[in-house]
């Protein structure tokens, strides 16, 4: 494990901050405990704050979607998901795409 400091909030002094800290909305600092493999991966990222933000936002989005489905009483099945996975991977036929472009006045 990587040693950590307690959480603290930036107070406007960004001396020593990485580039992402200067971006709008990136104002809060946290120190966290990480397994060694995660720390090594982060060390290889060009912008650690951006990498962590992207990963956490993905987790937040998944959690929120679960809540969106639960509130509607939706219980998903793996078989159902697999059916859509296959359909999503199937391209729209070329003739249909061509007809669609013609309908939009964007014929090739």
């Amino acid at each position: 494990m990587v040693a950590v400091d307690p959480p603290r909030r930036a107070r406007g002094n960004t001396d020593g901050a990485t580039g992402i800290d200067t971006l709008e909305g990136m104002t809060v600092k946290r120190s966290v405990s990480l397994p060694d493999d995660v720390a090594e991966w982060l060390d290889q990222q060009p912008n650690v704050s951006a990498a962590i933000t992207a990963a956490v936002r993905a987790q937040m989005g998944g959690t929120h979607l679960d809540e969106v489905l639960r509130r509607a009483g939706i219980e998903v099945t793996e078989a159902g998901r697999a059916r859509w996975r296959e359909r999503l991977a199937t391209p729209i036929p070329a003739d249909a795409l061509a007809e669609g472009r013609r309908m939009l006045g964007r014929a090739e």
Partner: protein
Amino acid sequence: MSDEIAVVFDASALTAYIEGNASVGELMLEVADEGRQVAVPATCLAAAFASVADEIDAALLALMMSAPMIRLLPLDADDVRDTGKLARAVDGDISFGQAAIAALTHEAHYATVQPKVAAKVLPTNWSILDLA
């Protein structure tokens, strides 16, 4: 998450979510896992809000729209004429017209519980995901 739209939900797909249709949820999860988006045309959302039984269902619909992979599509001025033109085939229901325009523009799958009606506004052989 990319900006790529994988699927367009028409008004019937939104109503199906309120009714707890599992296929809608499974499709939303798959699109999210692919890092892509589900488009909801504005007129489809308005039609769905018009059809809800009560404010509880309206709140549920609003909750769905807050899902991270959902993208609300406005009705652009450039698309108004084509939307109305396509709607002629479905008794003037402009929500089908805008959903079709969105699917054609983004070359996306069209998700609905009314595939026969949707087929009237889409090219032959277009990908229609039947949620029924």
